[in-house]
């Protein structure tokens, strides 16, 4: 496999990782929340989609459209879930000490994994895509890429652009940045920080749902997959540099490429190589590739 092919596969993989990471980046940026259950929520979304497909089966359009319909239905549910989670569970854990939010999200991670295990058993599942996950499209230069991975990449870029626009150009984004800069003064302006945080988490859960559905279409998911996805999301955010969604995308692409290189060297070393590059980057450039500096 040529270097160009490895690069291509890596970038496409990175697209998916960006979807894993965008929510994480948002949560940390707005409220300094480290969500150790990030991966588990993605897996939860995947299983919700699988269950939804099974339950709604006869009502859904036949063929390839079905998963996308279920995915679309899942978005507002995910949004609401994120809002409720922040408002009633996580808001109470925020503060100077990172421990409470860490322990609570860690607890949630355990709860989700075991709940899924109970309901779905440990068998890996996936979403039936009717050949979409093996279809490929020809690219210039004699390269070929999967239709689904290309689609995922496009969705990732779009999601990044939307989030960037939201933060930079809208009143909602302005309130996120203000609350993150100085919560006390933001409240003095008339903002209710609890509601702002809840809205931020609600928005963060949209790419989580999208990532879950796409992951289950691309490959299999099992209840214990959460932690692995969390580490990928985290590595993408750190390597990309905090404070910037485009940075997160860049970090995710870098991770995808390094993992692909690792996989080609030896199938057992793919993830390991990604970790090593991450740690190396942490040593030489701890602020990441494209950090947004704050004065």
């Amino acid at each position: 496999m040529s270097l160009l092919e490895i690069l291509l596969q890596g970038l496409l993989l990175g697209g998916l990782y960006a979807l894993f990471a965008l929510g994480q980046s948002l949560l940390f940026g707005v409220m300094r929340l480290t969500n150790t259950a990030q991966g588990d929520f993605i897996v939860l979304a995947a299983f919700a989609a699988i269950a939804g497909l099974a339950a709604l089966g006869p009502l859904l359009p036949a063929g390839r459209a079905a998963p996308f319909v279920v995915g679309a239905l899942l978005l507002p549910i995910s949004f609401g879930f994120g809002y409720a989670l922040q408002r009633w569970v996580l808001n109470g854990t925020l503060g100077r000490d990172p421990l409470p939010s860490l322990v609570v999200t860690f607890g949630l991670s355990i709860v989700i994994q075991n709940l899924l295990l109970e309901v779905f058993s440990a068998d890996p599942r996936s979403i039936e895509t009717e050949g979409l996950n093996t279809a490929s499209v020809a690219l210039p230069g004699g390269l070929a890429a999967g239709v689904l991975p290309v689609g995922i990449f496009a969705v990732a870029v779009a999601a990044t652009a939307v989030l960037q626009w939201l933060f930079a150009r809208t009143a909602v984004g302005r309130s996120f940045r203000a609350v993150s800069d100085d919560k006390e003064i933001a409240e003095l302006m008339g903002l209710d920080a609890r509601k702002v945080y809840a809205l931020a988490t609600a928005i963060a859960f949209v790419p989580i749902a999208v990532a879950g559905v796409l992951q289950a279409m691309r490959t299999t998911v099992s209840p214990a997959d959460g932690p692995v996805l969390l580490l990928f999301a985290f590595e993408a955010v750190i390597m990309g540099g905090m404070g910037s969604f485009w940075g997160t995308l860049a970090g995710a692409l870098l991770l995808g490429v390094t993992q692909q290189i690792g996989f080609r060297l030896d199938p057992g070393w793919g993830i390991w190589f990604g970790h090593i590059v991450f740690l190396a980057l942490l040593v030489v450039r701890p602020q990441g590739l494209f950090p947004k500096t704050r004065s």
Binding site: R174, A178, S180, D182, M189, G190, D192
Partner: protein, 233 residues
């Protein structure tokens, strides 16, 4: 003159440490009142209590006839008290214009809007798209004042406007106050510079170790009276 703001026996604590020991304070509509005192006298704590950043008993603070002690800051700004915080505390991730817009979050009706702020402080119009913290100290102070004005308050609280600024800049800032007051807005200024405080205000309160040690008409109080009250000798 109608009494706009009134505190009765206001106390304030930071954890177990008491910072205010019973402040009686009043301010009428259209007045400019100065609060002076040494560092640690409780002036900033007083401002924070008025805006809800530090909790107090409901009845200890009355504004516009209603008891507001201990209400959340967002509620207090909705009722018409705005703070220009000590040290400016602009939002670092926001531009000048975005900082000003944040001030309007409470959506109160009134004469102050973006263009009018730019007329008051023309230099800000030139720098509206720049990150707020890239401006000079004096310009940042203008943004902070503008941001507070954007909420169309009936009472503007200014905490240490002159902190870290050159005298000529301080004068420029204070020269803008009459224009702000012209339409009946009331102002309370916390100020380290005693002579500036006396020049700019109708009445003065002097704080000393969490208590009011002196108050009266700015024009009538003597320097000796103020020195005694300031240092608590």
């Amino acid at each position: 003159m109608t009494r706009l703001l009134e505190t009765t026996g206001l106390v304030a604590f930071y954890g177990d440490a008491q910072a205010l020991f019973g402040i009686d304070f009043e301010l009428s509509a259209g007045e400019i009142v100065a609060v002076i005192g040494a560092n640690g006298a409780g002036k900033s704590t007083f401002m924070k209590s008025l805006t809800g950043l530090v909790k107090s008993e409901r009845e200890q603070i009355r504004f516009g006839g209603a008891a507001i002690g201990g209400l959340p800051p967002a509620e207090i700004v909705r009722r018409g008290i705005a703070l220009v915080p000590e040290g400016r505390r602009l939002f670092a991730s926001l531009s000048v214009e975005e900082n000003l817009k944040m001030g309007a979050t409470a959506k109160r009706r009134g004469p102050w809007h973006l263009e009018r702020i730019y007329r008051l402080f023309p230099i800000l119009a030139d720098k509206r798209a720049e990150p707020a913290t890239a401006l000079s100290g004096g310009q940042q102070q203008m943004v902070a004042i503008g941001r507070a004005l954007m909420s169309n308050p009936s009472l503007l609280l200014c905490d240490e406007l002159s902190l870290g600024l050159a005298p000529i800049v301080i004068k420029e800032i204070y020269d803008a106050l009459p224009a702000i007051c012209a339409e009946g807005m009331s102002i309370a200024v916390v100020e380290q510079d005693v002579s500036m405080a006396r020049q700019v205000s109708h009445r003065v309160y002097c704080f000393q170790e969490g208590r009011v040690s002196l108050h009266g008409q700015s024009a009538e109080l003597t320097r000796e009276q103020i020195s005694l009250a300031y240092f608590g000798i």
